[in-house]
């Protein structure tokens, strides 16, 4: 008899112990109107590791989204393969609004275009919800580097091809395209090192002087410049960036290169309309929130909101552009 008691007590204790962990998320199917269910959390998948610009932006938006939607929003990092692993997870999730993700072009645009990657998604697998920022690409060298200007660096890379290593955040990501475009237009040649988990790994390796040249976005180098840990030589936009007013554009230096990363948020395609509307509205509130905008610009990120529909159009335009540039970053047989 006492054995039964003990067993029952143990079973009960174990269950109570587990229920005590109380968290969130109740589960059932979603029709749309009651979205989001109270206590059911929304996963925001970030396809790069923590600490990069995509991750930081998502974490800034997250508290406002929570307030607007009235439920928990969890940022989940799924890094790897230059974003492809996270995008695969996003598009294979149920389109019920409880899984959304940060999407960045060109990685999200390009990965389905190259058959070698075997991506399981296309542009149609995503439902764009809103664009947050456009982050121009930059090129930087170590603070003790002999190269003081863009021209010096590129000429050196032309004279001694592949003598310098340059970081990217993965094959066929924005940085890889930027680097390829530089090489194509200027005839210089670097040895690319692909840090497929994202910008934070690339930056760490640069700080440890394991790579010579950092190809990154404005947001990645704003802090580094202030601390004197990187010397930014050029920015790939039409006009100078307010965050880096002293850095000349490539055009000013005589090279016709423009590149950058555009980031926004998307859901898996097939979202019920009511859910999509709620998410879009909440995202707009969060992205255009003055406090969020201010923190973003402190990081070197200029907010440029686009609605879901406009983001979709922008996406389609990018697809056309990158189709042309794709051969530059594909493997040659």
């Amino acid at each position: 008899m006492s054995r039964i008691k003990i067993t029952a007590a143990f079973a009960a204790a174990a269950l109570i112990a587990l229920t005590g962990c109380g968290a969130n998320a109740g589960a059932s199917t979603v029709s749309g109107d009651d979205f989001p269910k109270k206590g059911k959390s929304i996963d925001l998948i970030v396809a790069f590791s923590s600490g990069g610009a995509v991750d930081t932006a998502a974490r800034l938006v997250q508290p406002i989204l929570e307030k607007e939607l009235g439920t928990n929003v969890e940022v989940i990092n799924k890094p790897g393969a230059g974003g492809q692993i996270g995008y695969t997870a996003l598009t294979s999730a149920k389109p019920d609004g409880y899984t959304i993700g940060a999407t960045g072009s060109p990685s999200v645009v390009v990965s389905p275009l190259d058959p070698a990657r075997g991506a399981k998604y296309t542009r149609a697998s995503f439902q764009p919800l809103g664009r947050q920022v456009v982050d121009p690409a930059v090129i930087a060298v170590q603070p003790d580097s002999p190269y003081k200007t863009l021209k010096e660096l590129l000429d050196a890379a032309k004279a001694n091809p592949k003598s310098m290593t340059a970081s990217t955040t993965g094959l066929q990501t924005g940085e890889h395209f930027a680097l390829a475009q530089i090489q194509e237009t200027t005839g210089s040649e670097f040895a690319p090192v692909h840090f497929s988990d994202g910008a934070s790994q690339a930056t760490t390796a640069f700080l440890g002087k394991h790579v010579d040249v950092l190809v990154a976005n404005v947001s990645d180098v704003t802090d580094l410049t202030k601390q004197g840990k990187a010397r930014v030589l050029g920015i790939m936009t039409a006009e100078r960036s307010p965050s880096l007013p002293d850095v000349p554009t490539f055009k000013e230096s005589g090279y016709d290169v423009e590149a950058g990363t555009a980031r926004g948020y998307s859901a898996p395609a097939g979202l019920p309309d009511a859910v999509a509307k709620k998410l879009e509205a909440a995202l707009q509130k969060a992205i255009e929130d003055p406090a969020v905008k201010e923190k973003m610009s402190a990081l070197g990120l200029q907010t440029s909101y686009l609605s879901g529909a406009d983001y979709e159009k922008f996406w389609a335009g990018q697809e056309e552009d990158f189709k042309k540039a794709l051969p530059l970053v594909q493997k040659k047989n």
């Binding site: 054995r3 067993t7 269950l15 229920t19 005590g20 589960a27 692909h194 493997k331």
Partner: protein, 165 residues
């Protein structure tokens, strides 16, 4: 060979289970070697997706070969072996449970699973078996659903679903 004979539990021949194991590891290794070449060991962009698997396939084949040599020179002691009854009972019951869980729902399938292990295999009394099986199925379902907000599957059959299973 003399030293081997003195040990009571060792045999002078390589055990069939060991041979099967070596064969299986070699097969996996060869498969990996072949398919990683297909993935590409080196591309114009640098080390390819097949490089690391290729190395591991190589390690697997090489180590299996070395193991075979070791076994031929000195067969290992035969291990105690396994209780086939336990493996079949636990294995098959788990497979059945996993196969019907989406159909019958967590509560009913887990209740039957626990009852099988407690009453039929374990020989516990009916009272203790029923209490534990109920706590582990219905109790766990509600504890997880409402306490942890972790949803365990409900039955796909409408009649079962309606009565809350």
């Amino acid at each position: 060979m003399e030293s081997v004979v003195t040990k009571p539990r060792s045999t002078s021949r390589v055990a069939p289970s060991v041979l099967t194991g070596i064969g299986a590891f070699t097969a996996v290794g060869v498969y990996v070697l072949v398919s990683s070449v297909g993935l590409g060991l080196w591309t114009s962009l640098g080390p390819g997706p097949g490089l690391f698997p290729f190395a591991m396939g190589g390690v697997l084949v090489a180590m299996s070969a070395l193991w075979l040599v070791q076994e031929l020179r000195r067969p290992s002691e035969r291990s105690e072996g396994i209780d086939r009854g336990v493996v079949i009972a636990v294995g098959v019951s788990l497979v059945v449970l996993a196969s019907v869980m989406d159909l019958l729902g967590f509560q009913l399938s887990m209740f039957l699973f626990l009852l099988y292990h407690l009453k039929l295999r374990g020989g516990r009394t009916w009272v203790s078996s029923l209490i534990i099986a109920l706590a582990g199925s219905v109790g766990a379902f509600y504890a997880f659903n409402y306490g942890l907000n972790v949803a365990l599957p409900v039955s796909a059959f409408a009649p079962l679903n309606l009565i809350g299973l």
